[in-house]
C-alpha cells in the first residue's frame, strides 16, 4: 500500500513537470493571441516555488481566466501619514511613525523616513494606522441588501455538489452594503457561495470600490477559493434527497473528489501528450481538479472539532490541502491539530447558540488558536460585523486575556489583516504595512481596538476611497440614490 501510494505521488510529480512545460508554451501563445494577458497570474505569488511547483497545472484547463479583472486604480499622488501609531501587522507597533505611499505601494514605514518633496502630508497625531482590514468570509453582492428572493443569489441549493458555480456570477456591484464595509475599513473581501451545499462553488476576492461590473472589483491575480461545507446545513437542505446525515455528507465529498481526481489525471495527461481529442470539459470537475493541483484554495465551513479532523483526513486521502476552516466554532478544541496541519481558523468572536453545532462557541476561540501556534482569523459572514471586524478582534482579544493568555494588541490586528491575507494567498501583497506591499491603509480616529474608533480615511492601492470628513465624496451605489435616505453629515 505504502509503495503504491509513493509511486502514484512520483507519477503525479512527473506529470506536473511535463504540464509545466506545456503551460509555459501555451501561456506564451495565449498572450500573443490576446494582445494582453489577463492580470490573473501576473502578480507574484508567495506560494510559487514552494509546494505546488511553479505553474503546476495552471493551464490544464482550456481557459485559465475567462472573467479577467478589469480593476485599475486611478493614478494617485504620493502621500505620507505622519506622527501616527502604526500597527503594521508585520512587527510591533511604531509610535509616532510615518508611512510613505508612492505609486500605490508602501514606499517606506518607520519612525523616521525620508519624504520626497511634493508628497501630500496627512497628520496622524493621536491617530492609528492599520493595514486595510480583510474579511475572508463575506456574502456581499451575492446576498445583497435589501434582502429579498430577487437578491438571494448565494446558494445554488439545487444539488449537494455544485462546484461548477462561481460566486462572482451572482455579485451585484450595486449592493448598498459595499460602501458600508469600506467605511468600516475593509479593503479586501472574499465573497463565498453559501453553505447549503457540500461543495458550494468558487469564491472570488473583491475590493470594495465603486464599479459597474464585478470584474472592476476583482482583485487582480487573486486565487479562487473553493467553498465546502460540513455538518448541519447540507444535511438539512437535502434532507429529502440526501445527504441527510453527516455520514452522507462525507460520502458526498469523497464521491466528488474521486471524480475530480480521475478528471485531473485525464486532462493532465492530455495536456502533456496532446494525443487525440481533448477530454470533455466539466465545469465542476475543472474547479475541483484545480483545487487538487493547489491552484484553488479550499475554504471549508466546519463548526465541530471532530468534523474538522475528518475533513483533514479527506483532504489527505485525495491530496489537496485545506487553507482555512470557516466559522470553526470548535477550533479551540483541536487548536494543536490545526496548528500542525497549518490550517487557518477563521472564526467569529461573539456569536453562537443559534444552532446545535454552534453551541460550544466561546469568545476566546481565536485567542486559543493563536496561543496554540495556529493561524487565527476573525471573519464576519455578516454585513454588520464586517463593518467592525476590528471590534470583533478586540472582543476576542479581551476574552483571551480574561482566559489568562498573553496576547498583544498587534496580534489581534493580525487576525483581521496579515492572517486573513495568508488565507487568501495574498500575504506577499496585502495585510501588512511593509515596504513594497500594496498601500491598503486605514487611518483610525483612535485605537482600532476601541469601540469609539472610526475609520477616518481608507486607501486601497494608494487611492483614497473614503474620507469621513467629506460626505460629498462618499460612495453611493445606484441603489442608494433615492431609495436610501442620505445619512447626512452625521454618518
Amino acid at each position: 500500500m505504502r509503495n503504491a501510494a509513493w509511486i502514484s505521488v512520483r507519477l503525479r510529480q512527473w506529470g506536473v513537470a511535463l504540464v509545466a512545460i506545456v503551460v509555459t508554451l501555451s501561456l506564451a501563445a495565449a498572450s500573443g493571441v490576446n494582445g494582453q494577458s489577463s492580470s490573473g497570474g501576473q502578480e507574484p505569488r508567495k506560494d510559487d516555488g514552494k509546494k505546488p511547483p511553479p505553474g503546476r497545472g495552471g493551464m490544464s484547463r482550456p481557459n485559465d481566466n475567462p472573467f479577467p479583472s478589469t480593476y485599475t486604480p486611478p493614478p494617485a499622488p504620493a502621500f505620507v501619514i505622519r506622527n501616527a501609531t502604526i500597527m503594521t501587522a508585520a512587527g510591533p507597533s511604531i509610535r509616532s511613525g510615518s508611512v510613505l505611499v508612492q505609486d500605490g505601494r508602501i514606499a517606506a514605514v518607520g519612525e523616521r523616513i525620508d519624504v520626497p518633496g511634493g508628497a501630500i502630508v496627512v497628520d496622524g497625531t493621536g491617530k492609528f494606522v492599520t493595514p486595510g482590514i480583510i474579511d475572508v468570509h463575506s456574502h456581499l453582492g451575492v446576498y445583497a441588501a435589501p434582502s429579498a428572493p430577487a437578491n438571494s443569489d448565494g446558494n445554488e441549493a439545487t444539488a449537494p455538489t455544485t462546484a461548477q458555480v462561481w460566486a462572482e456570477h451572482s455579485v451585484w456591484p450595486q449592493d448598498p452594503q459595499f460602501p458600508l464595509v469600506l467605511e468600516g475599513g475593509i479593503t479586501t473581501l472574499q465573497i463565498l457561495p453559501g453553505s447549503a451545499n457540500l461543495i458550494g462553488g468558487r469564491s472570488v476576492v473583491l475590493k470594495p470600490v465603486p464599479a459597474r461590473t464585478v470584474q472592476e472589483m476583482k482583485y487582480p491575480g487573486a486565487k479562487y477559493g473553493l467553498k465546502m461545507a460540513c455538518g448541519e446545513n447540507p444535511k438539512r437542505v437535502y434532507q429529502q434527497r440526501g445527504p441527510s446525515t453527516r455520514m452522507g455528507n462525507v460520502a458526498g465529498y469523497r464521491d466528488a473528489w474521486i471524480q475530480a481526481e480521475r478528471y485531473r489525471r485525464r486532462w493532465d495527461k492530455w495536456l502533456a501528450d496532446g494525443e487525440g481529442d481533448a477530454p470533455d470539459r466539466n465545469l465542476g470537475l475543472e474547479t475541483l481538479a484545480e483545487a487538487l493541483r493547489g491552484n484553488i484554495l479550499v475554504h471549508n465551513h466546519c463548526y465541530r472539532a471532530d468534523e474538522m479532523a475528518q475533513m483533514i483526513d479527506i483532504a489527505k486521502e485525495f491530496g489537496y490541502t485545506i487553507r482555512s476552516f470557516h466559522h470553526a466554532v470548535e477550533a479551540y478544541k483541536v487548536a494543536d491539530l490545526l496548528a500542525r496541519e497549518k490550517i487557518a481558523a477563521s472564526v467569529w468572536a461573539d456569536w453562537g447558540a443559534f444552532k446545535m453545532e454552534s453551541m460550544d462557541a466561546v469568545q476566546a476561540n481565536a485567542a486559543l488558536v493563536h496561543a496554540a501556534g495556529g493561524r487565527a482569523i476573525i471573519h464576519s459572514d455578516d454585513p454588520s460585523d464586517s463593518q467592525r471586524l476590528n471590534q470583533e478582534a478586540a472582543k476576542a482579544l479581551a476574552a483571551g486575556r480574561a482566559a489568562g493568555l498573553t496576547i498583544s494588541d498587534d496580534d489581534a490586528i493580525r487576525w483581521v489583516t496579515a492572517n486573513a491575507a495568508w488565507a487568501l494567498g495574498l500575504d506577499d501583497q496585502i495585510g501588512a504595512i511593509a515596504q513594497g506591499r500594496h498601500a491598503d491603509l486605514v487611518l483610525w480616529s483612535a485605537s482600532p481596538l476601541s469601540v469609539y474608533a472610526r475609520a477616518e480615511r481608507v486607501w486601497i492601492d494608494g487611492v483614497q476611497r473614503f474620507d469621513r470628513s467629506s460626505p460629498d465624496t462618499w460612495w453611493q451605489t445606484d441603489f442608494d440614490l433615492g431609495f436610501v435616505h442620505p445619512a447626512g453629515e452625521a454618518r
Binding site: 429579498a148 466561546v362 463593518q387 476601541s450
Partner: protein, 424 residues
Amino acid sequence: MRHLPRSNPVTRLVALLTLTAAAIAAPAGAQTLAITNARIHPVSAPPIENGTVLIVDGTIKAVGAQVIVPAGATRIDAAGQWVTPGLVNASTRLGLVEIGSIDDTNDARARGIEQVAAALEPWKALNIDSVLWTPAREQGVTSVVTMPTGGLIAGQAALVDTAPSAAVSVRLAPVAMRASLSDPDAGNTRSRAELVLRLREVLQDAVAFAASRQAYETGDTRSFSTSRLHLEALGPVIRGELPLLVAVDRRAEIVSALDLAREFKLRLIVLGGAEAWMVADRLAAGRVPVLTAGLDNIPQSFAALGTRQENAALLQKAGVPVAIIADAGETFRVHRIRQHAGIAVAAGLPWDEALKAVTLTPAQIFGAADRIGSLQPGKDANLVVWSGDPFELSTRATHVFIRGRELDERSRQERLVEKYKQAR
C-alpha cells in the same frame, strides 16, 4: 406590591413574592457591603470620583464620596474601577429560547388564533436553567425584558433579572403586549394597510368585549375576531395600563402605530424603529419610547431603507426616551448592548445618555424604575463593577450584583475554555 408603578397601575401583576425575595436578597442576618474608591455612575446623578456604594440586605443604602462604612461591612476596593447600575436589555428571548434552530428549545412563539396570541404569558414556561443567563450576567446585564415573537400579536413580555431562581424568576410581568406592524404577512395579511386593519379590528373587539363582559357569557354579543382569553388579555392595553410594544421600522409603519395609539388611547412603545428618526418630533411630542439598536445601518429590508447609526442620537436629541437594544429578541448576545451603546456614542449620542439608554430608561419604560436602573438609596442593588468604561471592548465586569448578591458562577463557555486550555 412595591413594584407597582404608582402612576400606572398594572393589572395582573406577577410581582416579586416579597417574603421569598427578602429571603434570597439577604441571607442570614444583616449583610452590609461597601464598594469603595470607585468611579461611580449613578445615572440619576452626576458621576462620583472615589465614591462608595453601601449595600445593606440587598438594597442600596448610600451612594457618594462621603459615605461612612459601618464596622464589620464587607469591603470591595474598586480603586481604578467603575460602578454602574446593572445593564438592562429591553428586547431578548432569554429563558424562552436556548438554541435558535431547535424547535424544542423555542418557547417564544404561539400558534394563537389568526396570528393573535395576546394571552400568551411566556414567562409561565421560563427556563430558569438556561445556560444563557450566565453569559449575559457576567457581562453586566442584570435584567432583561424577555418577550415572545411572531404574528400580529405575539403575547406579553416580562422583566426578569438574570439570576432567576425557582423562588423568584420574574421581577415584573406583564410589562408590555407585543405586536407587529412591520411584516405585511404577520397577521395572515397581504399588506401593511391590512395589518393595521386587523390590529384595529382586534382592538375594537377588545373594547366591545370589555363593555359587554356579562352579555358575552350568555352569548348575547356579536361575534368577535378572536377568542375570550385574548380579548381579556387586551383589557389592560385598551385601558392604557399595559403598553403596546409594536415592532415597526418604516416611517409609515411608525405613523400607523402612532395613529392607532391615539385612536385607542394606548401607551405605545416602538420596537426597532429603523426610521424613527424621521418622525422624532412626533414621537417626542407623545413621549413614545423607542427601543432601538445602536449600530444598525444596513437597508436590510425595504421597510428599513432609512436605517442609520445616528437613530438613537437623533431621537435622544429630539427628546424621545431611547433604550438601546442589540438585535431584537437576542439570546446568546444579550451583552452586545454594551457595544451597541459604545457605537451609538461614536455616532453622536452623549456618553451619559448612552448609559441611561441601557439602564434607567428601559427601567422607566417598563415600570421598574422604582427598583432598578440607577444607583439610588432604596433601590435594589443591581449593579456592576467594571474594570473601566463599560462600553469599551477591553473592559470586563469584575463584580456583578443582583439584589445585593454577588454572582460569579462560571458560564458553560468559561468551563469549555478551561477544559481545552488544560487539555493541551
